[in-house]
């Protein structure tokens, strides 16, 4: 059992989302950086889709009633365990009775915490992701509050082996790390890569130029559904109405105000605003780390480049997975 002593700002149970139900208006949701969640799970021997905790800005304080193997990644939280810095990007042994305080994010905004075995909450429509708007999934359909108790499934053999090794050596954590940021090819700091959207041609030449030339600032209108950006107004060549259709994570849609919104995994299933661009799938994680008021630029890439980046990252992950399997037998 994991006791939630303090919940943090917005701590939710997430897996890789609830696909298959958008036709009924049910959002996909899931970890905002699905790749980071998969890597955290991999590190503790879980299936990539096991339920993890997603933290935002201020992390929770958790007390473990039993020994556990955990791993976390994402933003730079000043996390501690029994008063000592909590190692990141690797398996960490938590002894029965110990308390982990995830502190606050010094840079970045979000982090993902995997626990060997995965968090044991009921599957709702095939997923353990918290669906706040409908009040279902995750832990009682809502973010964690003080006093909550989380159950965990039994860890995999690999996790048990790592735990035993760490215990025998009286070590807190392994020396090896697995960092999602090192896989594939990263964009320069402060940059996310994006490709043209379906309505690119609807926008004025100024808008097309400004999108990739301007420095954009994230606003406080930001949540798990999307982030509104402040910058030059993006206008259409002539007013045009779109027929509502499905949207995708990363889509940059532009309402009549001209201020673009970048859609994130908890986006609505249907949208009706022109889509000037789409953020590359591999850079969604970086986007979700932007704090309100932070600046970001878009770098123009082709769809082919975006998919090559996607495949390169998956190849790297597959190699790491193989390496880990060999190492831990």
């Amino acid at each position: 059992m994991i006791h939630v002593l303090r919940p943090g700002l917005l701590t939710t149970v997430q897996d890789l989302g609830r696909p298959g139900y958008q036709q009924y208006g049910v959002v996909v949701g899931g970890a905002l950086d699905a790749f980071a969640a998969r890597v955290a799970n991999l590190v503790v021997g879980n299936d990539g889709n096991a339920a993890v905790l997603e933290l935002a800005q201020t992390g929770p304080v958790l007390q473990f009633s039993h020994e556990a193997l955990i791993a976390w990644n994402g933003g730079d939280f000043d996390a501690t365990i029994s008063g000592q810095p909590l190692p990141r990007d690797r398996p960490v042994r938590v002894a029965a009775g110990e308390t982990v305080n995830f502190g606050v994010a010094r840079t970045g905004l979000r982090a993902w915490v995997a626990i060997a075995g995965g968090i044991d909450v009921p599957l709702v429509m095939g997923s353990r992701t918290t669906y706040r708007r409908a009040g279902l999934g995750g832990h009682q359909g809502r973010p964690l509050v003080s006093g909550d108790e989380l159950k965990v499934f039994a860890p995999d053999e690999r996790a048990t082996a790592i735990l035993n090794t760490l215990s025998a050596a009286q070590k807190r954590a392994t020396a090896w790390t697995v960092r999602p940021e090192t896989m594939g090819r990263q964009a320069p700091a402060g940059v996310v890569r994006a490709m043209r959207g379906p309505e690119w041609d609807w926008f004025s030449e100024d808008a097309q130029r400004d999108l990739f030339a301007a420095s954009w600032q994230t606003t406080k209108e930001a949540d798990r559904m999307g982030v509104r950006l402040q910058g030059p107004g993006l206008v259409l060549v002539k007013p045009r109405e779109m027929i509502s259709a499905a949207v995708n994570t990363g889509v940059v849609q532009v309402p009549p105000s001209g201020h673009p919104i970048v859609l994130l995994p908890s986006r609505q299933s249907v949208g009706g605003y022109p889509r000037i661009a789409a953020v590359a799938g591999v850079d969604i994680g970086r986007f979700t780390q932007l704090r309100p008021g932070e600046k970001v630029r878009f770098e123009k890439i082709s769809l082919l480049d975006a998919q090559e980046l996607w495949l390169a990252r998956e190849r790297d992950l597959a190699r790491v997975q193989l390496g880990l399997a060999r190492m831990t037998g």
């Binding site: 298959g20 009924y24 208006g25 959002v27 379906p198 994570t249 789409a278």
Partner: protein, 235 residues
């Protein structure tokens, strides 16, 4: 038919450029051919008014045989092939779902506004609203929320300039040419003309909704007493 990329992990299959019955039927037919499991690496096919959007994992599509530098073309070819030779499915007549609605009063505070706008009596608005047949074009905006086509022209009423902070669950609204039913209590700007006691979103059931794209909806006027009797418990 056009196939357009939507970012690096979705394709939009366009089957028309206007909202109408024939496009809707084309979307429904194509959707049955492209639905779950029909295409490798595709996790979801989501129908809307004129489109079907396919969500895919580029890695999974390459594992299934697509060339790394031609994922979109490879998948697009599979879509066209599939639509040219659709699997044989029994022709099904659309489902007609009757939705009981308590019109006016507390349940429909804007019924009078719609009547004034239409230059009709309140009774006549209810008569015309219940007489029409509505097609569920798509479900979206909120879980279980149906976008309905078929609103009689005279009932078209502009939305409120300032949305209500809370619209009760089950409210039947008119927003411009559109009409729909709010499954959950949410903010909303449509004109509320009545309320159904039925639950539109049923997460414990499969499918988790009362109405699905393709269904025909008929409204039936009920009294406040009937509303109370039919009111479904919301878990």
């Amino acid at each position: 038919m056009q196939i357009t990329p939507l970012g690096d992990s979705a394709l939009v299959v366009e089957l028309g450029d206007a909202i109408n019955e024939s496009t809707h039927l084309r979307v429904q037919t194509a959707w049955r051919a492209l639905a779950a499991g029909a295409l490798p690496g595709v996790s979801e096919a989501v129908p809307a008014y004129t489109t079907i959007t396919l969500f895919y994992d580029p890695w999974a599509v390459v594992q299934a045989g697509a060339p790394a530098d031609g994922i979109v073309e490879w998948l697009g070819a599979r879509v066209r092939e599939r639509l040219k030779n659709p699997p044989k499915t029994a022709k099904t007549k659309p489902r007609t779902v009757e939705v009981p609605v308590c019109y006016g009063g507390e349940s429909g505070p804007d019924l009078g506004r719609v009547a004034t706008q239409a230059k009709l009596s309140v009774e006549e608005v209810v008569k015309r609203h219940t007489k029409a047949e509505y097609r569920v074009h798509l479900i979206g905006f909120a879980p279980g929320f149906p976008y309905l086509g078929g609103l009689p022209k005279e009932l078209v009423t502009p939305r409120h300039a300032k949305p209500r902070m809370a619209v009760p669950a089950g409210s039947v609204g008119i927003g411009g040419e559109q009409t729909g039913i709010y499954p959950q209590a949410t903010p909303g700007g449509w004109n509320l003309i009545g309320r159904t006691p039925l639950r539109l979103f049923r997460p414990e059931e499969n499918p988790p909704v009362l109405l699905q794209a393709g269904d025909i909806v008929k409204f039936r006027a009920i009294t406040p007493d009937e509303f109370a009797k039919l009111q479904e418990a919301r878990p």
